[in-house]
Amino acid sequence: MSTPAQTAAAQRASQKTPKKKKGSDQGVVEQRSALQVWGKSAMLGIILLWCLFPFVWLIMTSLKKGNNALNSPNIFEGPFGLQNYEAVFAQDFHLNLRNSLAIAGVTTILCVVVGSFAAYALARLPLKRKILLLGGVLAVSLFPPVALVPPLYELWNTLGLLNTWEGLYIPYTAFALPLTIFILVTFFASIPKDLEEAARVDGASPFKAFYKVILPLAAPGVFAAAIIIFVAAWNELLLASTFAPRDPEVAQTVPVAIAAFTGAVQFQRPVGTITAACVVVTIPMIIVALVFQKRIVSGLTAGSVKG
């Protein structure tokens, strides 16, 4: 993230601050005022509440029996039961999970691989008109997707890509590449060139330098990009519902399946099954997030002390 010029500027800036005041961060033996500790915990509490209250709502609503989940604002009221979860899995939801996992997984891998190469070239290798390329890359992801669907549908129909995994992960990769490239370019550019040069001096080819030196240093960015791509591909609805609208055995993904849930009668909203499916879907995502966040934060650079 920081170019050498910026690091130097920052160091100069830090030298300019003369006032002596105590900081309150870890790593140094200091006195923490009780107020600061209390303040931090309170903030933490508010943040957790803000993030999790709706999730609690989802869980409680999914556990309610019967059809009056939305009759009263009291989420802790009412008979509870696991009917909604049974109903969700009775509809081949595990196949939807499989499809989504595969498609999102392939998208992520493809995107990271293709995107890394492109980002490295844009950040390091001499290419003409980089701004133009960056702008062009950006432009790809900007067109309103809803208008792209009719022509893409016809194209896919001719190519026989409807109702297939490829038919989904190819466009997903294409649409996720711009963000990936942008993230990775900023990360690659922030790695000091000297490290790369040192590797070259030792006889490494550009590719090896890229692979052994740059990539590990850019790991936080790579994993951040990977999570973002995975979640985006997993939750994508428009293309998935047009290209693979039915058939869980083949390619129907999780959001499409959820959108197809029906109530017990016409016009009834299937709140119970939708919330149950959402809980089922979120739990693996949280696990993925837990795993990935460790990788993002475990800095492999020399500056792993947080400040």
Partner: protein
């Protein structure tokens, strides 16, 4: 031409002077290497995105109403679109939504990132908890916030003792509810990018500053923010272009009523609900140009930092 050869000579550094012939082969191939590296990405994106965009543009020039194409119509569709009051109303809402939600997401995301960066007990769980709003599929989140804000059964109303306050049924508050839901859902995305950005700031810089007696705020303002600038710009860029294309939240929460119709909802109506492919494609193109213009401003700011800045700082 000269600039490139100079860069090529400077590229591998001082160690290459001892191997002139091999080095030159390697250097000259760096440009080709660059081209080879970007090629797969460009090809993939062009394949999937270029054809439909061209197609949509061509259609926008036709008088294609309902399901019958009546031939070339020049820029008629564009005129119709731009003179429709509905376009301007939805543009206004979209802009207001974008500015407000991106600003809020940035501030909250930054706060989250700084928090997630700390080492404290239970930080893993906290980080995962912060990511939860973002991993929930958008359509479900939209439904959920509809149920929360709707005056019946009134979850939010009963939580804050607001009686029968009709959030989604009045101008202004409907927009607020949608913005709130979007901020809740996407602040983690910004937080994630900024968190990754924070990782690349070397700790010694902070050490030096602390030794010199800099306060937390001074360290934050003079060190963290400048070094985080590229990550901030990327986050802002992509949040902005996403926000300009918002569809699910307003569609599910209000259907676009009470001045909460976004540009994408308008486009969707003309492409799908009341098919007028000519007008729909024209509106899409107009939206596209608008978003592209705004995006390019960010790219210029960003590009200067990374790409050109890099070569100059040598």
């Amino acid at each position: 031409m000269t600039a490139t050869t100079e860069a090529e000579e400077r590229g591998p550094g001082p160690g290459s002077s001892g191997r002139p012939a091999k080095a030159r082969r390697k250097e000259m191939s760096e440009t080709t290497l660059g081209r080879v590296f970007v090629a797969p990405a460009i090809v993939l994106m062009a394949l999937v995105a270029l054809f439909p965009v061209m197609y949509a543009f061509v259609i926008s020039l036709q008088a294609y109403s309902g399901r019958l194409n009546e031939g070339f119509a020049g820029f008629d569709n564009y005129v119709t679109g731009l003179t429709d009051e509905r376009f301007w109303t939805s543009l206004q809402f979209t802009l207001v939504f974008t500015v407000t939600s991106v600003a809020a997401e940035f501030l909250i995301g930054l706060g989250f990132a700084l928090l997630m960066n700390q080492a404290f007990r239970g930080r893993g769980i906290t980080r995962a908890a912060i990511l939860i709003p973002w991993v929930i599929p958008t359509v479900i989140a939209a439904q959920m916030w509809f149920f929360m804000f709707n005056v019946t059964p009134g979850f939010i109303n009963s939580l804050f003792g607001l009686g029968d306050f009709n959030w989604l049924g009045q101008s202004g508050w409907a927009a607020f509810a949608i913005i709130f839901a979007d901020v809740w859902k996407t602040a983690p995305f910004v937080a994630l990018l900024l968190l990754a950005g924070l990782q690349t700031i070397p700790g010694d810089v902070y050490e030096g500053a602390r030794v010199d007696g800099a306060t937390m705020f001074q360290r934050f303002w003079y060190i963290t923010m400048p070094l985080l600038k590229p990550a901030i710009l990327v986050a802002l860029l992509f949040r902005t272009v996403e926000a300009l294309r918002v569809y699910d939240l307003p569609q599910v929460m209000t259907g676009g009523a009470f001045n909460t119709e976004s540009l994408s909802i308008l486009v969707q109506q003309y492409v799908v609900r009341t098919p007028d492919p000519g007008l729909g494609s024209a509106l899409s193109t107009i939206t596209f140009i608008l978003i592209l213009a705004i995006g390019l401003v960010f790219v210029k700011l960003l590009g200067k930092d990374l790409v050109i800045g890099e070569q100059d700082s040598k």
